[in-house]
Symmetry: C2
Subunit: 442 residues, 2 copies
C-alpha cells in the first residue's frame, strides 16, 4: 500500500505518547475507584432513536450499517457521541440489576462527525463519572461529583504534570430563578445568549437580549450583571443579593452553589470559581453546571464539564435524576502530546535489553529475561546476535536504560552512565524510577 495519510480528526499516538495517555487513565481509574465509582463500558452503538432524543445534536452522529445491508434498509444504529446518552439507556435497561444511587465511571471513545479543528476531534476519549438516583438524588452529590473530578485533576497535575485546572460552577436554578424574578418567562432563550458572554462580551449579550428577546434595557442590564459575577468564595451570594431580585428558585440555586464553593474551598482553595455566566448551552441541565479550564491554556475552552439532570432517564414509571462530569481526555491530552510537552521516557516498557552473544546462546539470554520478569522487571531479548555496540544502540534508540551481558550471573551496563558491573538476575534491581517508563515533560 502507498503510505496512508492520517485521517483528519482521528488522532493516533506513538507508543511514547500513548504511555502518557495510559498513565492519565490509570490515575483517573484509581481516583474514581477510591471514591467508590464502579466501572462500566457501554457498546459503541446506540439506536438512532436513542441518539435523537436530544434533537439538536443529531447532525454530528455517525451512522453505522453493514456494508452488505439491503440498499433500502434504513440506518438504525449510530456511534455514541457522548457517554451520557448511553448511560441513560444502560440505567433504564439494567435498572433491575443496579443499586441506586448508582455511581459509575466510564472511560471510552466517542465519535462526532464535526469538522475537525485544533482540539476538536471526530474520535476522542472521554472519562465520565455520574451518580444516578432512583426517583430522588440529594444535592450533596453535586458537591461530591465536582470534588472527585477536582481530586482527579490535582492527581494528574502532581503525578503526571498536567497543568492545573480551574473549575467554573454555576447553577441553573440560580439563573432561571433570577430571570423569573425579573418577570422573564423564556429563560432558556436568555441562557442561550448569556452562553455567548465569553465570546462576544457583556455589551453584545445585552444587545441580543434587547434586540432578539425584547427585554427592557434595565432587565437586560440585570441579566448581564448577574453573568458578570464570579468569586472563589461565597461572596458571590451578596453580589447577587445586591441586584435586588427575589425568587424562591433563586434562593435554592444560591444555596446549592454556595455549598459547592464552600466544600471545594476546604479541599483546594481557589481552584473552584462560582461563575454566574456559565450556561452550558442547550443541554438539559436543571441545577449545578460545571466547566473546567486549564490554567494557562484558557483558550482551549472547557476540558471537563457537566452538571445535574433532574431527569437523566425515565422509563415512564420511574425517573432517574443524575449528576455527572465528563472529562475530555483526548481534548486535554491531544494538544499537550502533539506539542511534545509530555512524553514517555522510553518508547517501550523494557527496563533491560538482554544482549545475545550468539544465536546458540539465545536460550541463556531468555533465561535471564525470565528471571528478571519474575521479579517484575520488564525486559526484552535482543532480536539478533549483532555486535555488542549495535545491541547497545538498539537499547539506546528505544530509551532502554540497561543492557545485560552474559547469563544469570552476568554483567549489567547502565548505558546512560556507561557504568557496568557484575550482577545476578535473581538479585539485581534497578532504581524504582527505572523499572517502568516515566512521563517526562519537555
Amino acid at each position: 500500500m502507498a503510505r496512508p495519510k492520517p485521517l483528519s480528526g482521528f488522532p493516533e499516538f506513538l507508543p511514547a505518547q500513548r504511555l502518557v495517555e495510559q498513565r492519565v487513565i490509570d490515575v483517573l481509574r484509581q481516583t474514581f475507584e477510591l471514591h467508590g465509582f464502579a466501572n462500566i463500558e457501554t457498546r459503541a452503538v446506540e439506536t438512532l432513536e436513542s441518539l435523537n432524543r436530544k434533537g439538536e445534536i443529531t447532525k454530528e452522529v455517525y451512522t453505522v450499517r453493514r456494508l452488505h445491508a439491503e440498499g433500502n434498509q434504513p440506518d438504525e444504529l449510530g456511534l455514541h457521541f457522548d457517554l451520557t446518552v448511553p448511560l441513560a439507556r444502560y440505567v433504564v435497561e439494567h435498572a433491575g440489576h443496579l443499586q441506586f444511587p448508582f455511581r459509575r465511571y466510564q472511560i471510552q471513545k466517542v465519535w462526532r462527525g464535526e469538522r475537525p479543528q485544533e482540539g476538536r476531534y471526530r474520535e476522542f476519549r472521554q472519562a465520565d463519572i455520574d451518580i444516578v438516583g432512583n426517583g430522588a438524588l440529594s444535592a450533596h452529590h453535586d458537591v461530591e461529583a465536582m470534588l472527585v473530578m477536582l481530586e482527579a485533576f490535582e492527581a494528574l497535575h502532581e503525578k503526571i504534570g498536567i497543568p492545573q485546572v480551574r473549575i467554573h460552577v454555576n447553577n441553573r436554578k440560580l439563573s432561571e430563578g433570577f430571570y423569573r424574578g425579573l418577570g422573564i418567562e423564556e429563560t432558556d432563550q436568555v441562557l442561550q445568549r448569556v452562553d455567548k458572554y465569553d465570546k462576544i462580551g457583556a455589551d453584545a449579550v445585552k444587545e441580543l437580549l434587547v434586540d432578539e428577546l425584547s427585554l427592557s434595557e434595565e432587565v437586560a442590564q440585570k441579566c448581564v450583571e448577574l453573568a458578570g459575577i464570579s468569586s472563589t468564595d461565597s461572596s458571590f451570594v451578596s453580589h447577587v443579593r445586591a441586584l435586588g431580585v427575589e425568587n424562591e428558585m433563586l434562593d435554592e440555586g444560591l444555596k446549592e452553589l454556595e455549598d459547592v464553593v464552600v466544600a471545594a474551598n476546604r479541599i483546594a482553595a481557589g481552584r473552584v470559581v462560582a461563575d454566574l455566566k456559565i450556561a452550558r448551552g442547550l443541554d438539559y441541565y436543571t441545577g449545578t453546571v460545571y466547566e473546567t479550564e486549564l490554567v494557562g491554556h484558557e483558550k482551549m475552552g472547557s476540558v471537563c464539564s457537566g452538571g445535574r439532570y433532574d431527569a437523566l432517564a425515565s422509563d415512564g414509571k420511574t425517573t432517574y435524576p443524575g449528576v455527572g462530569i465528563s472529562m475530555g481526555v483526548t481534548r486535554l491530552l491531544g494538544p499537550i502530546l502533539s506539542r511534545g510537552e509530555l512524553i514517555g521516557s522510553r518508547s517501550v516498557p523494557s527496563a533491560v535489553l538482554v544482549a545475545v552473544t550468539n544465536e546458540e546462546e539465545r536460550a541463556e539470554a531468555t533465561d535471564v529475561a525470565t528471571a528478571l520478569r519474575h521479579r517484575g522487571i520488564p525486559c526484552e531479548v535482543a532480536p539478533n546476535a549483532a555486535k555488542f555496540g549495535k545491541q547497545i544502540r538498539h537499547a539506546d534508540r528505544r530509551g532502554i536504560p540497561f543492557v545485560w551481558f552474559g547469563g544469570l550471573n552476568g554483567e549489567v551496563k547502565d548505558i546512560r552512565s556507561g557504568d557496568q558491573h557484575p550482577a545476578s538476575a535473581s538479585e539485581w534491581m534497578p532504581e524504582e524510577s527505572d523499572i517502568y517508563p516515566q512521563v517526562v515533560s519537555n
Copy 2:
C-alpha cells in the same frame, strides 16, 4: 423511554462482571509489558480501501458515515474488524517514527456485521501482540509470541481462574512443503479443505480432495494422514518423516515447528501441541500458525489465534514481516460471565461505607472517607442519614464489607461477621483481600 431491549451481538456487562474483564485486561497488560511490548491504540475506523485488502472478509464490515452526509457521497470508512489490518496501516503510516522490530500490544474493540450466535459477537474486544520487522524478522519471534501469550493465559488461570488453555501450532511451510513434495501445486486449495478436518473428519476431507481437486486417492490419503499428526513433543517430526515426502520447504517448516514445541515444553509442558491439521483458513499466513482452545470448553472453538505473515504490510519499497497472536477477550469471557462462573466479589470498588448520623454531620463522614482514601482504601459516604440498619443494608446489597460509624476516631463494623470495634481512620486497615474487590468463582 420504554425499557430498551439488548442489541443482539453487542454484549454489555454489569459492574461486577466488568470487574472481571478489567482484571483480565490488567493481567494481559502486565504480562505484555513485562515482555517489552509497547501499547498502542488505533482509531476505530479504517478506509474501506484498507479494509478491503483481504477480499473475502468485506461482507462483515460495518460502514460509517455522517448522518447528514450528502446522499450520493460514497461510504469511505468502516469500523475495523480486527487489529491486524489497522496495525499494518499504522506501521506503514508511522514507520519513520517506530523502532524495528516493533513490538506492540493492542487491546481494543472490533466490530463485525456477522449474524450473532453463542460466542459470536458483533462488537467484541481483542487483545493482540505482534512483532513486526523491517525487511526481515527472525523465526525465533514465532516462538516468543506464542510463549508470551501462553504466559498470559497461565497468569489468567492462576490469578483469575480462567480455564487453562491448549495451544495448537502448525506451520504453513510444513504443510505447503509437504503438498509440494507430493506434486500438488494448488496448495491453498488443499489447505482450505484440510481446515474442515475438525468439523467433517478425515474421510470427508479426503473425499473433498479427491472429488473437488482431483487428487489421487494415494496423495489425498497422505494429506489427511499429515493432518492427523499431533504431539506435545517433537515426536511429530518422525511421524511426518515416516510419510516419506521430501521437500526443502517442508524441512524448514518442520524445524520451525519443532523449535516452537521444544521451547514451549521448557515453560509449560503439555500446554502446546504440534497439530498438523491447523490451517487458519484463508488468512495470509506464511509460517507458524496458532489456535487456542480452553481445556474443558473445546466446543467454543479457538479463543486465541494468529501466526506469521511474511508480508504483514508493504509500502512498495519496504516489506514488513510480522508474527502475532490475537486473543478474543470477549469471546473468552462472554460465556464465562453470562453463566456466572466468575464474578466480582462486590458491585462497587468501596471497601467501606461511611455511615452518616445526620445530614449536619455529613462533613465529618466525608473527613473519615478522605482519611481512608489517603491510605488507599476505597470508600463511599452513605447517600443519606437513614437509620443505621438501612445504611448497613445499603452496604450489604453492594457487597461492601465494612461500615464506619462516627468520626475519625469511630467504630468499624465487619457486616459479614457482625464484629464491631473502635478504629482510627488514620490507622485502621482492612485485610489486603478486602481492600479491592476480588474475582470469585461460582
